[in-house]
Each structure stands twice: as C-alpha cells, then as structure tokens.
C-alpha cells in the first residue's frame, strides 16, 4: 500500500482535475482541469513501466542489465503531444467565446435547452 503512493497520487491528480471541471465556473479553469488529468494519466503510464533497480532503456550508457519497460514511455510521449494539441485547440475556442460573448463564465452560454 505505502509503496503504491505514485498510483495514489495519480488518483489524486484525476480527482483534482475533475474537481476543477465540475466546480470552477471559468472556462480556462476547466481547461486547466483537463491538463491536470492529462498529466495524471501520463504519470500513471510511466509509473506502470518502472522497475526498481533497473536502468533507462537506452543501450548507449546503461550497463547491461535489467531495464525499465520501454512501451509505456512511448505511449506517454504520444499522449503528451496529444495533450498539447487538445489544449491549444480548446484555448483558442475559449478566446473566441470570450470575443463573442464577453465572458468566460460557463453558466452564460448561448446554447441551452
């Protein structure tokens, strides 16, 4: 249990992100919440690949021996770039909403019912 602290930190990050997305009324805060969940999931993937006492999966400098798992790192790389792409798109939309409606309040949208 105590050794699973990184996993529990991931759950805490997901919870904080959801908290921001549910209870914060500012669109930029909602987007920051998504970024936090994204970071949490990335952390989760890398933590899954960790093997204690092993080396980075690169032969150039590592002494031959056990290595940490390479696949989760590759997945995380993909996921980081996806994260920044999504973030840029959402922020530009938020800017346009501010331009159209003069507010970033989620409660004052025009699409209702």
């Amino acid at each position: 249990m105590i050794h699973n602290i990184p996993y529990l930190a991931v759950v805490a990050l997901v919870a904080i992100g959801f908290w921001a997305m549910i209870f914060r009324k500012n669109l930029i805060k909602v987007i920051i919440g998504i970024a936090i969940i994204e970071s949490g999931v990335n952390f989760f993937l890398v933590a899954l690949g960790y093997r204690s006492g092993a080396y980075a999966p690169i032969y150039t400098h590592a002494p031959s021996g056990q290595m940490v798992l390479p696949v989760p790192q590759a997945l995380t790389l993909t996921s980081i770039v996806i994260g920044v792409a999504v973030l840029a798109l959402m922020l530009s939309l938020a800017v346009q909403i501010y331009k159209k409606q003069g507010t970033l309040d989620t409660r004052k949208g025009v699409l209702k019912k």
């Binding site: 980075a56 690169i58 032969y59 150039t60 400098h61 790389l77 980081i80 840029a88 331009k99």
Partner: protein, 160 residues
C-alpha cells in the same frame, strides 16, 4: 504581444543558438541518446517561442510567415508518411533500411555501446521529418495565437 526590453532581447539572442543546437542534437541523436523528433522539436519550438516573446509577435511574424510554416509542416508530415509508404513492399511502416548495410543500415553490436549515427534504418530520417513537423506545428500555433492577441489589443470589433 509587444516588444520587451533590450536586456531581454539580448539575452534571448545569446541563448537562441544554444537552444537550437541542443534541439537539433536531440533530433539527430534520437536513436542513440534520450530524445527524438518530438522532444527535439519541442525544444527548438520553445527557443522560437522565447524569441517571439522577446521581440513581440508582429516583428516575429515579419521574419517567419505562417504560410511558410504550414508548408514546412506539410513537407515534414509528407516525408514521414512517405517513409512509411516506402516499406510497403513488405508492410506499411516496415523498416526497409535496417540491417541492410549502406546508409543507416549498420547493426550496432549487442549490449551496451556508444552506438553509431549510421544505424537504425529509417529511424533517423523519420526523426528528422517528425522534428521538422513538430517545430513548424508548435511554432505556428504560438505565432497564430500571438498575432491574434496583437489584433485583439488593437480592438477591431469587425475583424476576427
């Protein structure tokens, strides 16, 4: 984004070459040391972002045009997918250069070794293509948003 003070500008001038060299090193040595196209592209793009912040987006836009960046990005993406297509005699994404000798075709010795640039088949080429694409993509995102903020500050109601 408007221009910043002279101190900031000279420091960014000083730092830019180092960041660029570091970024291109990461891209080129992606198959040997930690790094690769994405990481190096992100580093180079962050150097460009520094210049954009220091000099302001209008001045940056007079050096680097958004349409040129989009052509560069397109070329990078096309290069990447073409390298994948070239393996189609066996399968999509087949690494047709690895282990065949010639350019990038050497096989590194088993186990821990410093490695040679001349290995890994299509990987260095893919790294280059992806690096180009990521540099152009991230830079154009920041450039477009910076220009938009410039026009917003001017406060035109009728222009988007």
């Amino acid at each position: 984004m408007s221009e910043m003070s002279k101190i900031v500008r000279s420091i960014s001038n000083l730092l830019l070459p180092f960041i660029l060299i570091y970024g291109f090193y990461i891209i080129l040595h992606g198959h040997l040391t930690p790094g690769g196209g994405f990481q190096g592209g992100a580093v180079v793009a962050s150097g460009l972002v520094m210049v954009l912040v220091a000099y302001g987006s209008e001045r940056f836009a007079s050096w680097v045009k958004e349409k040129h960046l989009s052509v560069l990005e397109s070329i990078g993406a096309l290069g990447f997918i073409s390298l994948a297509f070239l393996g189609l005699s066996t399968a999509f994404f087949y690494n047709f250069l690895a282990g065949k000798g010639g350019l990038f075709g050497d096989i590194p010795p088993e186990g821990s070794n410093p490695g040679a640039l001349n290995t890994a088949g299509t990987l260095p080429l893919m790294n280059l293509a992806v690096g180009l694409k990521v540099i152009a993509g991230l830079a154009s995102i920041v450039l477009v948003m910076g220009l938009a903020s410039h026009y917003f500050k001017q406060g035109g109601e009728n222009d988007t």
